[in-house]
Subunit: 284 residues, 2 copies
Amino acid sequence: MSSAEQFPGIAPPTIGVFDSGFGGLTVLRALLRRLPQAQFAFLGDTARLPYGSKSRRTIARYAVESVQFLIREQGAQFVVIACNTASALALDAIQAASPVPVLGVIEPGASAAQAASRTGDVLVIATDATVKSHAYAAACQARGLRALEKACPLLVPLVEEGWTDHPVTAEVIRIYLAELIADATAHGLHADTLVLGCTHYPLLRPLIERAVPTGMKVIDSADAAADAAVHLLAAHAPSISQPVRPDQPPLRFFATDSVDKFERLGSRFLDRSVGKVELVDLGG
Amino acid sequence: MSSAEQFPGIAPPTIGVFDSGFGGLTVLRALLRRLPQAQFAFLGDTARLPYGSKSRRTIARYAVESVQFLIREQGAQFVVIACNTASALALDAIQAASPVPVLGVIEPGASAAQAASRTGDVLVIATDATVKSHAYAAACQARGLRALEKACPLLVPLVEEGWTDHPVTAEVIRIYLAELIADATAHGLHADTLVLGCTHYPLLRPLIERAVPTGMKVIDSADAAADAAVHLLAAHAPSISQPVRPDQPPLRFFATDSVDKFERLGSRFLDRSVGKVELVDLGG
């Protein structure tokens, strides 16, 4: 289904994608596959990462400022919060402050797990901050699933080191999954589904697929969020009337700091060259 | 040599120790061994870490604010910057703004390497930010040494995961050192000394000692900084006249965020219980 079919009679929308860093480029990659004709503006709030160590109030303020930049200055008509921490701790605040629809990554991930699981028991791996928020467990519970979450703090640094197909990373994944599965068994769970609850983890999917027990399904929350975005966009299409701006490139990248690192590492996450990243100042 | 001998006729000083996080507790640990009678106030600017991804100007502002807290509110008469990034990028600015002597960790590390090396060729492992600053290379060069630096970004997360005596960590160290030594050989260096240029690395010293080639000396910049502090304090002792405050505990810990994580992980770095960490607000 092309975006011309999804948005009959109107131009494809401008979609804002926001992350605290650049891991959210995996969500943009999934969106690009589904909506190749849309215009995208991606903002990484790299000056203020990591959000994980900050309070809910601070995260909400940063995320609202970032989303307002995407809407007001980049004309985004739809926003995807491609950041698990901001989705977990600030989605309500962002939606309350936004005049356009805003989608997070956690609810779509939980819905995809619900669709995939037969036993109703799911496992979630994520960063320490996402696990501490228990946002995935709550979203799973709201769908009648039992979920056990585990923080895997070494996986993001391993991805950022570029060791996405490395024996050390395979061993770290084996250790984390063995601990999680033993813990699930001790809790009486019969888990058949594993949710990747961090935007960095899609780059480890091949290693993770090889490490899970036979028959366990792996849900990528980046893919799930992109699927949900396509559905929501189709529902909101009639209200999206601003024409595509042919003077603008279809993909624009913004960061609040560390533009070099973004340009250097971003292509691994996006699976294509990021090109030029524009520096923006959202204040302290 | 006890602090009574070091400070004849006067009370031992109050020493402020500053880090962007809590890795600098390894420097405090080294100081406590040498100055058991001094009073210490440690501040971790955990709300604003990591400094490594921020600009020199921002790091200088944060570090100056932190050091002023230690001097004005905690009565520090001597300050140790137990943070490689702040030492590399902001020591001049801190010293310019401070009415008391301030010591960083990089110059002492380079001096200890000079004393240890026979070939004059040294290796330095550190975080990405410290390596990018080339502060160790410059400090080594100023002492007539040739230095090759390597960023080892997985080592801090491995320490924070608690895998300080783990086969995965041993393998990561083996890989990093093999790459560094091959690079040094290609550059014609005959390195006989390895500087641990990150406050987290002393916790990996046993694994690193086992991984280096026979005869290579390992210099811990935390130990080197503590040695330098003792010498500098002795030289400044006549000007340090404020008596020890018996109403205050000898060790006080402050953090700008994440007090729980500090209390939980800090004891590993300090090698004794951290106890209560007080939250302070230094502004955004």
